[in-house]
Symmetry: C2
Subunit: 282 residues, 2 copies
């Protein structure tokens, strides 16, 4: 498996399968055509046309929209359309940083193809001139990608959390990194992908951070989401990426970005500009 295959895997969504979900003049998400037919069964909430699904304009406030879509979401979940209810709110945003249009149960975010936002942090250690990367192994009971390799810290940004606030919280929960150390994490960019995963649309932007860790810090998972951590040489990380899909799909992207930014992949290698440019395709 070549590095570029990881990027193609995450840029694979066939958007012809989805109809835009509009609220007013803006787009709130993307809905699979068969799901649109289900939504037509809730005519007080959605109007479903040939080209799009629209939220009824009488649902004009955050509270009204959240309540009406929330009822439909619960109904579809109980009817078995999707699984893995999280009991956690995500915002539905037109543009990041603006007030949310409504709130949505986290597990329904890919069902409505809503643009999700997450933080991913590369925790690394310098050993002389060399860099080693902390890699976690996801617990076997995770709803998404159990047992796959993960970052030291990563998570979705739920309703009401700022980006750095989310990062500091995840640092504590996922790796027992104290706030004083987490605050030193440096934002280094963002990346974006739209992929079909388990039949749904993952439509995500990840905010990426690097944190140089003290050599003697040993991460310890506090929320049961990560089974173990290992400090890996970058050559070993690259070897795993070349071998197959051991890394969680989106973690592979962030790791490739890390390898590029830290000069571990060089411009004279084949696919370099496709790798460097492909990570940010919209």
């Amino acid at each position: 498996m070549s590095l570029i295959d990881h990027i193609h895997r995450c840029q694979s969504a066939d958007m012809s399968k989805f109809l835009p979900w509009r609220i007013g003049d803006g787009r709130a998400g993307w809905v699979r055509r068969d799901v649109a037919e289900r939504l037509a069964g809730y005519p007080t909430v959605f109007s479903v046309g040939a080209d799009d699904v629209r939220l009824k304009p009488h649902l004009a406030t955050y509270d009204h929209r959240s309540a009406a879509v929330g009822d439909v979401t619960r109904d579809l979940y109980e009817a078995g359309l999707f699984t893995g209810w999280r009991g956690e709110w995500f915002p539905v945003l037109q543009h990041f940083g603006e007030a949310p249009l409504l709130r949505l149960e986290r597990s329904a975010v890919p069902v409505f193809g809503v643009h999700g936002y997450g933080v991913h942090m590369n925790g690394f250690v310098r050993d002389g001139g060399r860099i080693k990367l902390w890699v976690g192994k996801r617990a076997a009971n995770r709803p998404i990608e159990p047992g796959k390799l993960d970052h030291l810290v990563a998570g979705g940004i739920s309703l009401g959390l700022g980006v750095r606030e989310c990062l500091v919280k995840e640092c504590e929960e996922e790796a027992s990194i104290p706030k004083s150390l987490a605050q030193a994490a440096r934002p280094v960019g963002a990346l974006r992908y739209r992929m079909e995963h388990q039949g749904w649309l993952r439509n995500d932007t990840l905010f990426v951070y690097d944190l140089e860790m003290p050599a003697d810090f040993v991460p310890r998972n506090a929320d049961g989401e990560i089974e173990s951590f290992e400090l890996m040489e970058l050559d070993a990380v690259r070897g795993i990426l070349a071998r197959g899909q051991d890394f969680k799909f989106n973690v592979a992207l962030v790791v490739i970005d890390f390898l590029i930014r830290h000069g571990h992949i060089a411009p004279d290698e084949s696919d370099y500009s496709d790798l460097a440019l492909g990570l940010w395709r919209d």
Copy 2:
């Protein structure tokens, strides 16, 4: 002027003004419609249709293609279609790293909308926790963007040069950076833009490097292309970007990427993901 405006400025090409220039099954560049009409006057070299311009298939080798297109290029230059003949060869590439289809006079690269490749190096100095960036001022006699602010080192990759080889050469010529120091430059990514500039199509990929410089190193220009250098605080650099177009158009992009990668722009700022993602749009 907002930071995002610099990106929009470089992603501004209206491609409906251009016809693809094809060689065999591949695309060698993009030609303005009025230039396509001029090329129709060379029927042994080009066939010009409603949808594209094709190189005649009998021009089947690198040498034949280079000679035939070279004659046309010289003719168009002497007829006054474009100015600034450089006497320097650039490769016409289907994919970076592959054998070139032909070679082309550098000043004709935007005339044929050929994909150009360059290196841009951020030379920076650490001062405690702060970073300062070396900024050059382009000489008043440069054919492109005279007097604008520039990187410590930047240049187009001419025929036969590898990326790092080009960087080391430019380090010596533009800033008198010895090879031993230049070798420490770290590749950190690539960015891409297509813009109309002086009526032509700049269709470029830049390979970006960072080089941490010793605090006592003073750059000295050796080829007359840079008038002076200044070591600037990142806040000052950002202030100049906010003020207007003092930086050369593509240098602004690379500097914004530098500010993002070094955490000087944070995800909670408006436009962050548009900035971070827009730099790599194809």
